[in-house]
């Protein structure tokens, strides 16, 4: 009868799983972020946004010229090796102005997300959580705000405060409050009767704690998806208001104002309308694609269902 040798016993596979081979499943948020990055659309969006944020922060170092210095005798030039995007009617370098022009766009987008997000989420949470007359008043206010196209809200705020970058940010922030508020409210309505909310209340948590500590974290994923859309909306609204002469004031460069300025010289130098327009459209396209990728990453079921 053959006796098992000692070596055979050692070679048999261990009964306990080897610890380093167990994959810890990543946090859902991180997993969604990874999925977004793996999606070509998401990669495109993140890259465009990253490049422009970099350009905006380091504008003094990456722009070839001072954006408001006028090169006399070199007005209305097309693209050349000296001025890559050409020059405007005052002989200012268009590429430098486009790079610096990323600043008002992104500053407004960030301010809108912070301000509009804060007010919208608080109002929406309160409306959903308390219900009753608080809900009615807030919802009717949202309805009324919704009746104003964002541009018109911009008119109201700028008529009152005067034109400028910050004022534009306030105007757009007010315009986004209702849509964010509705997202927050619908979330609360869905969640407020769940057991964990009840449990929190039983342990003596106050309304504020329930809303911000227990309910709000559930809003993170729908809010992140909204974020990219919101930024796209703000960038577009800022450019539109600047185009109408209500935003960032000259000589500070902004894409919308540059495009407005180009209109008088289309016959002589159509290049003035190309550079800022292409960059603006690329940013908007990137943000739209990023929003699509985020939506897919946070809600894979919808995508798998074939829509």
């Amino acid at each position: 009868m053959a006796v098992r040798s000692a070596t055979e016993v050692v070679a048999s596979p261990p009964l306990v799983a080897v610890p380093q081979k167990v994959k810890k499943s990543p946090h859902p948020l991180n997993a969604a972020m990874t999925r977004t990055w793996r999606n070509p659309l998401g990669k495109f969006g993140v890259t465009i946004l990253g490049v422009l944020v970099f350009a905006a922060i380091f504008a003094p170092f990456v722009s070839p010229y001072d954006p408001i210095v006028q090169h006399q005798g070199k007005e209305l030039l097309g693209p050349s090796t000296e001025f890559w995007m050409g020059t405007d009617e005052l002989g200012r370098d268009l590429l430098s102005r486009v790079i610096w022009g990323a600043r008002p766009s992104l500053v407004v987008a960030v301010m809108v997300v912070l301000l509009g997000g804060l007010v919208g989420i608080c109002a929406g949470l309160a409306a959903g959580y308390f219900g009753g007359w608080i809900n009615s008043v807030i919802m009717r206010l949202f309805d009324a705000l919704f009746a104003f196209p964002a541009i018109l809200l911009g008119f109201v705020v700028i008529a009152a405060l005067g034109p400028g970058t910050t004022q534009v940010a306030y105007a757009i922030a007010i315009a986004v409050v209702p849509s964010l508020g509705r997202v927050a409210r619908s979330l609360v309505l869905k969640e407020r009767n769940r057991d964990y909310v009840l449990a929190a209340r039983c342990t003596g948590a106050g309304s504020g704690r329930v809303m911000f500590v227990h309910l709000l974290p559930n809003a993170v994923s729908p809010m992140i998806v909204n974020l990219a859309l919101l930024m796209g909306f703000s960038v577009l609204a800022e450019a539109s208001l600047a185009f109408l002469g209500l935003g960032t004031q000259p000589p500070t460069p902004s894409w919308g104002a540059m495009l407005n300025g180009s209109r008088a010289y289309l016959r002589v130098d159509p290049w003035m309308a190309i550079g800022p327009g292409v960059v603006l459209a690329m940013l908007l396209l990137g943000l739209n694609y990023l929003a699509d990728a985020l939506r897919e990453a946070f809600d894979p079921r919808r995508v798998n269902a074939g829509f």
């Binding site: 009717r140 206010l141 309805d143 009324a144 705000l145 919704f146 009746a147 104003f148 196209p149 964002a150 541009i151 018109l152 008119f155 109201v156 700028i158 008529a159 009152a160 034109p163 577009l236 450019a239 539109s240 185009f243 109408l244 002469g245 209500l246 919308g256 495009l259 407005n260 180009s262 209109r263 289309l266 016959r267 159509p270 309308a273 327009g277 603006l280 459209a281 690329m282 908007l284 396209l285 739209n288 694609y289 699509d292 074939g306 829509f307």
Partner: protein
């Protein structure tokens, strides 16, 4: 049906109240009220107080609002601070241009969005759908005003087919009138069409999986009839609602498009009002556009109920 209309009208009242109140507040948000603007920087406090009393600005805010609404109901929107002309007259002169542009854009966007939406739904996951949706997402990323500028460069300056701007409104020159309308209306309409056709596609795709569509297919109805007679009818309902909501975007877009093409509409009037600090004019324009928006949405909801019996007979 009568009950639904009544319900919907009652719901519109608080929205009307809040939005007119917001418009009313424009005048009062200005630092150093309208009386100070009118009196000028060198006015004595007594003169200022007299003007304020004259304008009713010494009354409580709510009283002022009621008085203002009272005037509105009689068609009195006040006078331009700058030119002294009645604002209702200024608006009457400008409104037709804005309405013409908006309606034309709406029609163009529907003409484009319907076939595109249907095609991309019936060819879902095919090359055609991919092509259409690529164009859509590119188009959605192009700001209205830049598209307008590019259109001017191409169609007016290079090809010389269409005028670069301005409005011809002459009964004897219909051709010229239409030519002047094409570029602005198409620019505005295409922006809306991209979103609309995408929305229609998703609705159609959802309806395609419904039981009644499967039944229709099972009993041998032709594919064409399934799409147009069965699916499209149901998929169009939400599109009509979205059309009402999109009207706000369209009005906002109209203001910008007007500015690109020097179209003499309400937007230009309001922009002039802002730069001249003629707030009464800004207020009048705002009021007109906001009321237009509310009324359109009311009409959309009522049409919706008319088309879809589930809504007017619904238990809610």
């Amino acid at each position: 049906m009568g009950r639904y209309i009544l319900q919907r009208l009652i719901q519109a009242i608080p929205v009307m109240f809040f939005s007119t109140f917001l418009v009313f507040m424009v005048i009062h948000l200005i630092p150093g009220d309208a009386a100070a603007v009118l009196a000028g920087p060198n006015a004595t406090p007594e003169a200022l107080a007299a003007i304020r009393k004259d304008m009713g600005l010494d009354q409580p805010l709510l009283v002022q609002y009621v008085v203002w609404v009272g005037h509105l109901l009689q068609g009195d929107l006040g006078k331009s601070t700058l030119s002294g002309q009645p604002i209702s007259k200024l608006l009457q002169a400008r409104a037709p241009a804005t309405i013409e542009l908006t309606v034309a854009a709406m029609m163009i966007s529907m003409t484009i969005a319907l076939p595109l939406g249907i095609l991309s739904a019936t060819h879902v996951r095919g090359k055609l759908e991919w092509f259409i949706s690529t164009i859509q997402s590119l188009w959605l990323a192009i700001p209205n005003f830049w598209a307008g500028i590019l259109a001017i460069i191409l169609f007016s300056l290079i090809l010389r087919w269409l005028p670069p701007g301005g409005r011809v409104a002459d009964a004897n020159d219909i051709g010229g009138s239409i030519k002047s309308l094409i570029l602005p209306a198409t620019t505005l309409g295409l922006a809306l069409a991209a979103g609309l056709s995408r929305f229609l596609k998703f609705n159609l795709l959802e309806v395609f999986f419904d039981d009644f569509v499967r039944t229709a297919r099972a009993k041998g109805v032709s594919e064409q009839s399934v799409v147009f007679r069965h699916a499209l009818r149901n998929a169009l309902l939400p599109v009509i609602t979205i059309l009402g909501v999109q009207f706000a975007t369209l009005l906002g877009g109209a203001i910008i498009t007007e500015s690109v093409f020097s179209w003499p509409g309400v937007g230009g009037l309001m922009l002039d009002g802002i730069s001249n600090r003629d707030y009464a004019v800004v207020q009048g324009g705002l009021l007109l556009l906001v009321l237009l928006f509310i009324i359109i949405n009311l009409l959309v909801d009522l049409t919706y109920a008319l088309i879809d019996p589930r809504i007017r007979l619904g238990d809610s």
